[in-house]
């Protein structure tokens, strides 16, 4: 009976009071909710305010005709099912009422059964209309969603940094995004354009091979190429991957998707890596070559070496191999620091104690060159940092050992501790040979050792400061260097008091 859970709402517009009351009573017995109006004006007011399920309109009323009431209601509430009630139907009014959307005529006088039958029919119609309406709205909403999905997907693909290009089995362009233009280095691609002519030859080759394959094989192929090789624009390295698109039966290749990726950064890292590898091999090879050289001399009977010379060569070979061992250990330490696999035991470390210990340990080395070490600190202050003791002491040792190594005879080393906010500042200053500006720049790079007439005879792996820098970086500290060639260098290390490691 009901369209929804609620009882159906019926509007009754008739100027005859006895009929209104009679019909109202009949419909209420049937369970309908009934509103009545005694003239056209009132009928329009009610009928346009409330969305009635069914309206029963008397055709002839003193003020406004039922046709006008019908027109107004239909305009405002197109889903209200309207019946015209009249004692004498003319053909013209019937046509007009139908045109305006009346459901039908109920001829007066009518029996309760006739009335209810018509109302039931009207309600059924109303249910259908409302259901259709609901479906229509639902469909519209879904279409909207679909359109939204599609535009969202488009936006995503268009914003991808990777280039995407799709071609059909004839090698014609079907789809591409803006990044594709950049990574294939073309100004524009036309829809359905034969794409092979514009693609880089490396990509073209594998895309063509995929399309020429008679049967579909789900295997992607990648190729790398360079852009702007001879132009003023920066060189770009690109990796393009071509994947076949299967047809519906997955038997034939229906097209190719090409995804192009800018791999310039990877290439740069790769380059740095191979540069590092070649540097390492050079540094490792040198002591081995020198040692082999000495062994060859020792084994050469034509040379008539003196015993003294022989001993010298053996000593020097041993020395070279020992420093090679040190270098390998340093390299392992660097890689441990970089991979962060160093086992640290973070303790409260009093730097004043550490520095004093290390100074004492180095006195012997310093004495060889008659170097004086001065250690300045405020006796009242404690210089505590949270750190791994061996790791930090190695930093101090490295800096102090450099200050002695790169110093002059009778030189001085000043080492001091200060508080600097949440940091402890360790400064190591020497009166040594200093660095040239271009040497200072490369100070912390692996294997860099200032090579000039003044550093002649000073040995080292070129890894010490690199380890210092990497260690301090790990502790979120800072290292600064100041230097003047011929005058000396100063290193300042800021270590946070609280461990952030």
């Amino acid at each position: 009976m009901e369209v929804s859970e609620k009882p159906a709402k019926i509007l009754l517009v008739d100027d005859e009071e006895y009929l209104r009351n009679g019909v109202k009573r009949i419909l209420q017995i049937e369970g309908f909710e009934v509103e009545t109006a005694e003239n056209g004006t009132e009928g329009i007011k009610l009928g346009t305010e409330i969305d009635f399920d069914v309206a029963l309109l008397d055709l002839k009323m003193p003020d406004i005709s039922g046709i006008e009431v019908l027109r107004s209601i239909r305009e405002k509430m197109p889903n209200t099912i309207c019946f015209m009630a009249t004692a004498y139907a003319s053909y013209e009014t019937a046509v007009e009422a139908t045109k305006l959307g009346a459901e039908g005529y109920i001829l007066k006088p009518f029996t309760p059964d006739e009335l209810i039958h018509n109302i039931e029919k009207g309600l059924q119609k109303r249910r259908l209309i409302l259901e259709a309406e609901r479906l229509r709205l639902e469909r519209e909403a879904r279409l909207l969603e679909l359109a939204f999905e599609r535009s969202r997907l488009n936006t995503i693909i268009n914003l991808l940094a990777d280039g995407v290009l799709v071609m059909n089995q004839f090698g014609e362009m079907v789809y591409y995004n803006p990044a594709a233009l950049r990574l294939f280095d073309v100004d524009k691609i036309l829809l359905a354009e034969r794409i092979f002519e514009v693609l880089p030859p490396e990509v073209r080759e594998i895309a063509e091979a995929i399309l020429n394959n008679d049967s579909f094989t789900d295997v992607s192929q990648s190729v790398q190429y360079k852009l702007h090789q001879d132009s003023e624009q920066p060189e770009i390295f690109v990796e393009a991957t071509c994947s076949p698109i299967p047809d519906n039966e997955k038997k034939k290749t229906a097209g190719v998707v090409v995804v192009a990726k800018d791999i310039t950064q990877y290439k740069q890292i790769e380059n740095l890596k191979s540069q590092f590898v070649s540097m390492v091999s050079h540094e490792l090879k040198a002591p081995v070559a020198a040692t082999i050289g000495f062994l060859d001399l020792l084994g050469n009977p034509k040379l008539n070496l003196s015993d003294e010379q022989k001993q010298d060569f053996l000593d020097r070979s041993t020395y070279r191999l020992k420093s090679l061992l040190t270098m390998v250990n340093d390299l392992l330490d660097i890689s441990r620091i970089e991979l962060n696999t160093v086992k640290r035991e973070i303790v409260k470390l009093d730097l004043a104690v550490s520095v004093a210990d290390i100074v004492q340990m180095m006195e012997f080395e310093a004495a060889k060159k008659k170097i004086t070490i001065h250690f300045n600190k405020d006796e009242e202050t404690t210089y505590t940092v949270e750190a791994d003791k061996p790791e930090i002491e190695r930093v101090i040792t490295n800096l102090l050992s450099n200050a002695i190594k790169y110093n002059v005879e009778n030189g001085e080393v000043f080492i001091s501790l200060q508080k600097a906010g949440a940091y402890v500042l360790l400064e190591v200053k020497d009166t040594g040979i200093g660095m040239r500006p271009e040497e200072k720049e490369r100070l912390f790079s692996e294997f860099f050792r200032a090579k000039n007439e003044k550093t002649k005879g000073i040995h080292g792996t070129g890894l010490g400061l690199s380890i210092v820098k990497k260690t301090i970086d790990r502790y979120a500290g800072k290292i600064e260097a100041e230097s003047e060639y011929g005058k000396g260098s100063a290193f300042r290390v800021y270590l946070p008091e609280k461990a952030v490691i």
Binding site: S274, H282, K285, A289, G293, L297, K451, N452
Partner: protein
């Protein structure tokens, strides 16, 4: 054409330098050594060698090229062979095994050889060079 048995060795590895000095001296050469390219050029001017063997990587990764270039630009240097030696030719992306005349012109050296130096090879190259000069 005979050449004076005078050779200049430039290498920043003093051990290698001394080893080669001993070996060339054993072959009857007069040997002068330098540990860097600046010193090497001065020794070249003073010593007037019949041949120079220059290490590639010294202060800089290409110090040897620079020195060879300077020597070859000097009128005296044009007449002598200069050999660049390196332990890492292939690692630094430089392959000179089969040098074209253009490359030789650009590099300003007769040849780039792998370390360690094989004295007998140098002797052959040296006499070949002076034979061609005739």
């Amino acid at each position: 054409m005979n050449y004076e048995k005078k050779i200049l060795l430039v290498d920043d590895d003093i051990d290698v330098l001394e080893q080669n000095k001993i070996l060339f001296e054993a072959e009857g050469f007069q040997v002068e050594t330098a540990e860097n390219s600046v010193d090497g050029y001065e020794k070249f001017l003073e010593f007037k060698p019949a041949c120079a063997i220059v290490d590639l990587m010294m202060e800089e990764y290409d110090s040897g090229f620079v020195l060879a270039h300077k020597i070859k630009r000097h009128p005296m240097g044009k007449k002598i062979p200069v050999f660049i030696v390196t332990a890492v030719a292939s690692q630094v992306g430089m392959q000179f095994d089969s040098m074209t005349p253009e490359e030789r012109e650009w590099i300003h050296a007769e040849d780039v050889l792998n370390k360690p130096v094989v004295i007998s090879d140098i002797l052959v190259k040296l006499s070949d060079f002076y034979k061609e000069q005739q």
